[in-house]
C-alpha cells in the first residue's frame, strides 16, 4: 500500500471524528430521554407500596416484582390478563387482517389499470389525514343503529382499515413487483389471486411487515374508540382498562400499584413485536429504493 493510499484512507475518518462524536452524543441523549421513563417504570413496579415514596425513584428498594405481579393477577380474578389478551387479539389479529386488506388494495392500485384508479387512491390517501378520534363518535352512532356497540366487533372491525398501509403497499408494489413476473405467472396459468398470494406478497414482505407494525401500534394505542364503544369490563383493551383503574384511585388507593405494574407489563408485547420484526422492516425500507 502506498503512503498516499494510506493518507486517503486516514484523512476521511479524522475529519469526521468530530461530527461522528457529536452525532453519537445527540443519539445518546435521545436514547437516555426515551429510556429513563421506562427505567422508572421498571423500578417502580418492583417496589412494594410502602416503599414507593420513601426510596429513590430511580433505584430499587426491596425487590418485589413477582409478588406485585401476583397481586395484580389476583385482583378481580385476573381481569388484567384478560385485557392483555384482548389487546393482543384486537391489535394482532386486527393488524394482520388490515395488512392483507391494505396489501391487496395497494397491489391492485399499483398493478391494474382501471378507470378511477387515481381518484380512488387519492380518496384513500385523504383518509390518512383523518385522525382516529374524529371517527370514533360517528362509528359509535353507526354501530348503535345496528345494535352492535359494546361487542368485540365494535372495536375489531374499525381497526381493519389502514389508509396509510394502502399507500405503502402501492409504493412498494410498484417498485418491487416487476410486471414481467406477473406476466410470467399469468402465462403459467396462475389466477390473479394466486399470483398475489404466492408471488407478490413474498416480494412485498418488508412493506407488509412495516404496515403490520404501524397498524399494530396504532390499534394498540387507539384509546378513544374502545372508551366510547365498550361498557363490558371483559372486552376492554389493556390501555382502557388501566385508565379505568387509574380513575378509581381516589376510591381504592391500592389500585395505583396495579396501574404501575400493569403499565410495565403492557409494554412487553409491543417491545417483542418490534424487536422480533425489526430485521424485516429495517432491510425492507431501504431495499425498495435500490431499484
Amino acid at each position: 500500500m502506498t503512503n498516499s493510499t494510506l493518507a486517503r484512507r486516514a484523512a476521511p475518518s479524522r475529519e469526521s471524528l468530530l461530527s461522528r462524536s457529536a452525532a453519537m452524543l445527540i443519539m445518546l441523549i435521545c436514547t437516555f430521554y426515551f429510556l429513563v421513563p421506562i427505567w422508572w417504570l421498571f423500578v417502580a413496579a418492583t417496589k412494594d407500596r410502602s416503599q414507593f415514596t420513601s426510596t429513590s425513584p430511580l433505584w430499587f428498594g426491596d425487590f418485589n416484582l413477582f409478588a406485585n405481579i401476583g397481586n395484580l393477577a389476583a385482583y378481580r380474578d385476573g381481569v388484567f390478563f384478560r385485557w392483555m389478551l384482548n389487546s393482543v387479539i384486537y391489535a394482532g389479529a386486527g393488524a394482520a387482517i388490515a395488512t392483507i386488506l391494505a396489501a391487496m388494495a395497494g397491489y391492485a392500485i399499483a398493478k391494474y389499470a382501471f378507470r378511477g384508479r387515481e381518484l380512488a387512491f387519492n380518496v384513500i390517501l385523504g383518509g390518512v389525514l383523518v385522525p382516529a378520534t374524529a371517527l370514533a363518535l360517528p362509528l359509535f352512532l353507526l354501530f348503535s343503529q345496528v345494535g352492535a356497540t359494546n361487542t368485540f366487533w365494535s372495536v375489531f372491525l374499525p381497526s381493519l382499515v389502514s389508509p396509510f398501509g394502502v399507500y405503502l403497499a402501492r409504493i412498494y408494489a410498484s417498485s418491487s413487483v416487476p410486471d414481467e413476473i406477473i406476466e410470467a405467472a399469468r402465462i403459467d396459468g396462475a389466477g390473479e389471486v394466486r399470483t398475489f398470494f404466492t408471488v407478490a406478497t413474498r416480494l412485498m414482505a418488508p412493506a407488509l411487515v412495516t404496515i403490520f407494525l404501524f397498524q399494530f401500534v396504532s390499534i394498540w394505542n387507539n384509546f378513544f374508540l374502545p372508551l366510547i364503544m365498550l361498557r363490558d369490563e371483559g372486552l376492554f383493551p389493556v390501555t382502557l382498562g388501566l385508565y379505568v383503574w387509574n380513575t378509581q384511585v381516589s376510591q381504592i388507593p391500592e389500585i395505583r400499584a396495579f396501574v404501575i405494574i400493569g403499565a410495565l407489563l403492557s409494554i412487553i408485547p409491543l417491545i417483542i413485536a418490534f424487536l422480533g420484526l425489526q430485521r424485516f422492516w429495517r432491510n425492507g425500507l431501504g431495499s425498495g429504493g435500490l431499484k
Binding site: 407500596r49 410502602s50 414507593f52 415514596t53 420513601s54 425513584p57 378481580r76 382501471f114 378507470r115 378511477g116 363518535l137 360517528p138 359509535f140 352512532l141 353507526l142 348503535s144 343503529q145 345494535g147 356497540t149 359494546n150 372508551l227 366510547i228 365498550l230 361498557r231 363490558d232 369490563e233 385508565y243 379505568v244 380513575t247 378509581q248 384511585v249 381516589s250 376510591q251 381504592i252 388507593p253 391500592e254 389500585i255 395505583r256
Partner: protein
C-alpha cells in the same frame, strides 16, 4: 368488467351515504316523564346499570339472587368526569343508554338540564323514601322541585379535619377549632419546618365544599334563570383566607394525588388534611409510615361554637332517559342505596359512606381504626353529615367549571393572580358557556 365494478362500487357508496344520513337524522329523544308503570305480571325484566364503583357486582349479585324477575347487569367504565358522563350523553342520543347510571351530585344538574334523567317521583316507594335519607342529599336529587325526584342518593363525603395528633402534641400546638386558630397554627407549624396542609390546585369540588361550609353558593336557580355567584361574599371570604395562607408560604403547593403529595404526608411534612370520610383510606394507603399517629376532629369553623360541615363528593343512582323499565329501575335503585347488605358490600369494596340515616349506624362504622390511634372516626363523620347545608346548588356545567378554575388555581400557585381572581375568571367563562349552550343565565 370495469363498468360492472364501477356500478357496484357506486351502489355501495350510495347505500353507505344513505345509512349515514339516517344516523345523523336520528336524534335525542324527549324525556320519558310518563307515569311509572310496572311490567306485566311474570314478564322478566333485564336492566343495565353503569357504575364505576369497584365491586358493584357483589352488591348486585345479592339483588339478582333475590329478584329472579328483575335481573341487573353491571357495566363499567372510567369515572364520570373521566369519560362516562360523555358516554351517557352519547348513548342517550343514540338510544342505547343503560337503564341506570351512577351520577355524582355535582353532575346531576347537567343531566337534568339536558333531559338526561327520568323523573321517578311517580314510581312506587320513591317519594316515601325521602325520610330515609339525610336531608341535604334529598335536596341534591330533587333540586327543591315539588313532585320530582331525579335520582336516589347513594353516598356522601362529609368533611372533617384529619390531623397528626402526635406532631401537634409534641409541638404543644392546640388542635384548631376555628379557621383563625388554623391560620395561627399554620404559622407555628411553618416555623418548625412543616406545612399545615397542601393547597390543592385541582380539587375544585373540595374548594366548593369549603364554600358550602361557609354558607356560600356558587350557583342559584330561581326556576327559569341561573345566576352564577362564584364571587359571592362567602366565597370571597374563603378565597381570601386561603390567599393569605398562600402569600405567607404557610401551605404547600404539591399537585395532589401524586407521589410527591403522598410522600409529603408520609414524611410528616404535612400535618393536616381537610377531607371527606373516604379520605381515611387515602391516608392509610399513601402514608403508611405514619400509622397510629392520626386522629380526626370536626373541621375548623368560621365562628367559634358552630358545627357547620362541608361535603366533598358523593354519587346518586339515576334512571337514564330512554329506559324502558323505569319502575323496575327505580325499585332497584331504592334497594341498592337503602338495603343494609348492599351498603355494607359497597363500603367494603369501594369505601363509600351511605347517604341514608340508618346507613351511618352500620356495624362497619362502629369500629375503632388502629391507623387513627384506635379512634372511632366515623362518629365524627356521622355528626358532620348532619351539619351539611341542605341548600347548596351545583351548576349545569360543573366539569367545565372545574377545569376553568383549576387553570386559575395553578396560576395562583405560580404567583400570578389571587384565588378570588381565579374564581371570577371561572365565573365569567361559565356564564359564557351557559349562554353558548342556550341555558338561561343572568349577567
Amino acid at each position: 368488467m370495469s363498468t360492472r365494478i364501477a356500478l357496484r362500487a357506486g351502489a355501495l357508496i350510495a347505500v353507505t351515504a344513505l345509512a349515514l344520513t339516517g344516523c345523523a337524522a336520528g336524534g335525542g329523544s324527549g324525556s320519558a316523564d310518563a307515569a311509572c308503570a310496572p311490567a306485566a305480571d311474570g314478564e322478566k325484566v333485564n336492566l343495565t346499570f353503569t357504575s364505576w364503583l369497584p365491586g358493584m357486582e357483589d352488591a348486585v349479585k345479592i339483588w339478582n339472587a333475590e329478584n329472579p324477575d328483575i335481573q341487573v347487569e353491571v357495566q363499567t367504565g372510567p369515572n364520570g368526569n373521566g369519560g362516562t358522563y360523555k358516554n351517557f350523553f352519547n348513548q342517550i342520543a343514540a338510544g342505547n343508554a343503560p337503564d341506570l347510571g351512577q351520577i355524582e351530585y355535582d353532575a346531576l344538574p347537567n343531566f337534568r338540564v339536558q333531559d338526561g334523567v327520568v323523573n321517578i317521583a311517580d314510581c312506587a316507594g320513591v317519594m316515601d323514601a325521602k325520610s330515609q335519607f339525610v336531608d341535604w342529599t334529598w335536596s341534591q336529587v330533587t333540586f327543591g322541585e315539588d313532585n320530582a325526584v331525579y335520582a336516589i342518593p347513594q353516598d356522601t363525603g362529609p368533611e372533617a379535619l384529619y390531623y397528626r395528633a402526635d406532631l401537634f402534641e409534641k409541638a404543644g400546638i392546640p388542635v384548631p377549632t376555628t379557621w383563625d386558630e388554623y391560620a395561627a397554627a399554620a404559622a407555628q407549624i411553618r416555623e418548625l419546618g412543616g406545612y399545615i396542609t397542601n393547597f390543592s390546585q385541582s380539587d375544585i369540588n373540595a374548594f366548593a365544599g369549603l364554600v358550602w361550609q361557609a354558607g356560600g353558593q356558587w350557583f342559584t336557580n330561581d326556576g327559569t334563570d341561573w345566576t352564577v355567584t362564584m364571587d359571592s361574599p362567602e366565597s370571597a371570604k374563603v378565597a381570601d383566607y386561603w390567599q393569605t395562607l398562600i402569600d405567607g408560604d404557610l401551605v404547600a403547593k404539591y399537585p395532589p394525588w401524586t407521589d410527591e403529595w403522598n410522600n409529603a404526608y408520609n414524611t410528616g411534612e404535612l400535618w393536616t388534611w381537610v377531607s371527606a370520610v373516604w379520605g381515611a383510606n387515602t391516608i392509610t394507603s399513601g402514608a403508611p409510615d405514619t400509622a397510629g399517629n392520626w386522629a380526626v376532629v370536626q373541621m375548623p369553623q368560621w365562628n367559634a361554637g358552630e358545627s357547620a360541615a362541608g361535603n366533598w363528593g358523593g354519587s346518586s343512582t339515576a334512571v337514564l332517559t330512554g329506559s324502558k323499565h323505569p319502575y323496575e329501575a327505580a325499585k332497584f335503585a331504592l334497594w341498592l342505596n337503602t338495603n343494609a347488605d348492599a351498603l355494607t358490600s359497597m363500603n367494603k369494596t369501594a369505601n363509600i359512606y351511605p347517604a341514608t340515616i340508618e346507613g351511618a349506624k352500620l356495624p362497619v362504622f362502629s369500629e375503632g381504626l388502629d391507623f387513627y390511634g384506635g379512634q372511632k372516626i366515623y362518629e365524627v363523620f356521622a355528626a358532620a353529615a348532619n351539619e351539611v347545608n341542605p341548600d347548596f346548588t351545583w351548576g349545569p356545567t360543573m366539569t367545565q367549571v372545574y377545569t376553568d378554575v383549576a387553570d386559575g388555581f395553578s396560576q395562583v400557585l405560580a404567583g400570578n393572580g389571587t384565588v378570588l381572581d381565579a374564581l371570577k375568571t371561572g365565573q365569567d367563562k361559565t356564564i359564557e358557556a351557559l349562554k353558548a349552550a342556550s341555558i338561561p343565565v343572568k349577567g
